[in-house]
Symmetry: C2
Subunit: 324 residues, 2 copies
DNA sequence: CTGAAAGCGCTTACAG
DNA sequence: CTGAAAGCGCTTACAG
């Protein structure tokens, strides 16, 4: 507020309240060994309020070494769309435990560069990086604080959903599966692998793999070819809901009956999922609350230097709508 | 990395390199009054690297008072979806100027509560709060650092896009407009107002207002009624792309020809916009790069205590696809 | 060209 | 029940 960069310090309060610096600190930190008289406490608190005192974080952190910040790190903001709901839950839950959640988006791959977020000393770093590699690991550990993964080994996690997609389609009677992924999906391999395995485990022919191009018209061509080569009803396992949307849009353009001729199942259950044409059947998280509970438990453990529990694989379920 | 919470300090390096603490600091801060011999510098830098030294932020901040963190504050993560692209640009641009962008999601309305993010001393706070009120202003100012708004007075900004929607539909020949908003949209009033004004300025009857319910089937009923009451071609101005998606989905369910019978125009140009059925015509930002440039200039000014320039209204344009 | 010293604002044993 | 003092790790005038 003050332009004149004049920070209100604990000394100002001490002077104002007519007590020593130490007494002020004792009162304000609500130290449990509270041996300060009520009258003094009130005096101090009033002075603090009057002067609009906020303790200066760097000084406090330097002295105590205790941070109450949890930093959530992800590669790009786009991942947030999927986890948005979970992140809000996480932030609330951590708040209840006295921690505050901050985000960092994008990681600097260059270990020689000054570390971004270097002004921050988090208590714990939570990693929402889907496919950790050496560089990202190094980045995370440069904070010098415990790192908690938010998604259990991502490829394995990915495969839980992929398998669910395939088995759902089998149950619905589809014997010909296609896999749809866009070029950018980092988890493509895990997805392909899981669907392939599920096919072979069910004695079904190997799935065809369709690359989804950026443009809707290009996608129409891809699908036209795919359909002409595969005359029976097909089930498409899209790597994410966005890809599923693209496919549904192109199928609508081509007047292909969904799900009769082609069934499409997505993954993620994004907020828009009920609004595709037809409404998207997709994979959603089964029990967000319990997932967050586990994650928070791990963050708290890490903040105390205790060992982490294995983050369980998120349990998933098929959210049945109309596209499959 | 080290479990044994033993922080490597500047003293360790001094000892390792056989010089004084001050010399180490001079070398490491790359002080421009560099009067240290090359040999000494190398010795120090090697020692620092060998010991994996990272300066301890609280100590540095306490001493210098200079933070290089910019904190972006928003109410909910959902807003991020719209601005995702801009936020990534902002983060990159700030990095180029030596600042690091961190996010805080959700604001604590209670001024008596300990301030969240209180471990952080940002240089500047950037506010992505669409409709600031007293509580949010107070929250932002409790950091005690300059606050830069990221969106120029939101209602006015909102109206730029709304007017564009209406005039585009007029140009296309639609004389009957409807306004579609969901209950949660905080900027509804500004949207309604802008469309109404544009209608009256164009000598067109007042727009009808349609509340978009959560459920797709409920929306079908709303639209059925709306269409039976308005037999001529209608243009629908949706408050955001999500709402536009809902309307397009319901219209598809009802087999209503779009845009012949009903044209729909969204706002936001979200990544999925090209994938609605039919592809969504919507309002997009005209020149993100120049917007970010202005915003960054303001952040830099604020960090130096200089006055801010008025953030210009984002210039918008109609992204023409097929729904209108 | 390098080192000894002060001090940023806070907390917390330790005396009194 | 309260105060004087040390010290967290760093930077930067200031001597030498």
């Amino acid at each position: 507020m003050d332009k004149g960069r004049q920070r209100t310090t604990i000394d100002d309060i001490a002077r104002e309240a007519g007590v020593s610096r130490a007494t002020v600190s004792f009162v304000l930190t609500k130290n449990p060994h509270q041996t300060i008289s009520l009258a003094t406490r009130e005096k101090v608190q009033q002075a603090a309020r009057r002067l609009g005192y906020q303790s200066f974080a760097p000084a406090r952190l330097l002295r105590t070494g205790h941070s109450s910040t949890v930093l959530l790190v992800m590669r790009t903001i786009h991942i947030a769309a999927i986890y948005a709901y979970l992140v809000e839950l996480l932030a609330k839950a951590l708040n209840a435990h006295g921690f505050n959640l901050l985000w960092q988006i994008g990681i600097s791959p260059d270990p020689e560069q000054p570390h971004p977020a270097s002004d921050l000393v988090p208590a714990v770093v939570v990693s929402l990086i889907e496919e950790p590699d050496g560089a990202s690991e190094a980045f995370l550990h440069r904070f010098g604080v415990p790192v908690v993964p938010a998604i259990s080994s991502a490829p394995r996690q990915r495969q839980v959903g992929s398998r669910l997609q395939a088995t759902y389609l089998f149950d619905k009677g589809y014997r010909h599966l296609a896999i749809a992924a866009s070029r950018q999906s980092t988890l493509r391999e895990a997805h392909l692998e899981a669907i392939r395995q599920t096919c072979s485990a069910n004695g079904v022919e190997a799935p065809v793999v369709a690359m989804v191009p950026e443009s809707r018209s290009a996608l129409r061509s891809v699908l036209t070819t795919l359909l002409s080569e595969n005359p029976s009803p097909m089930g498409v396992c899209a790597i994410d809901d966005e890809t599923a949307f693209a496919i549904l849009a192109a199928l609508a353009d081509l007047n292909v009956p969904v799900p009769e001729r082609v069934a499409v199942i997505g993954s993620g259950d994004i907020p828009l999922a009920p609004l595709s044409v037809p409404a998207l059947t997709t994979i959603g998280i089964n029990d967000p609350a319990s997932y967050i509970e586990h994650l928070v438990a791990n963050v708290l453990a890490a903040s105390r230097g205790e060992p982490l529990c294995d983050l369980e694989l998120l349990s998933c379920r098929v959210v049945v709508r109309e596209s499959a």
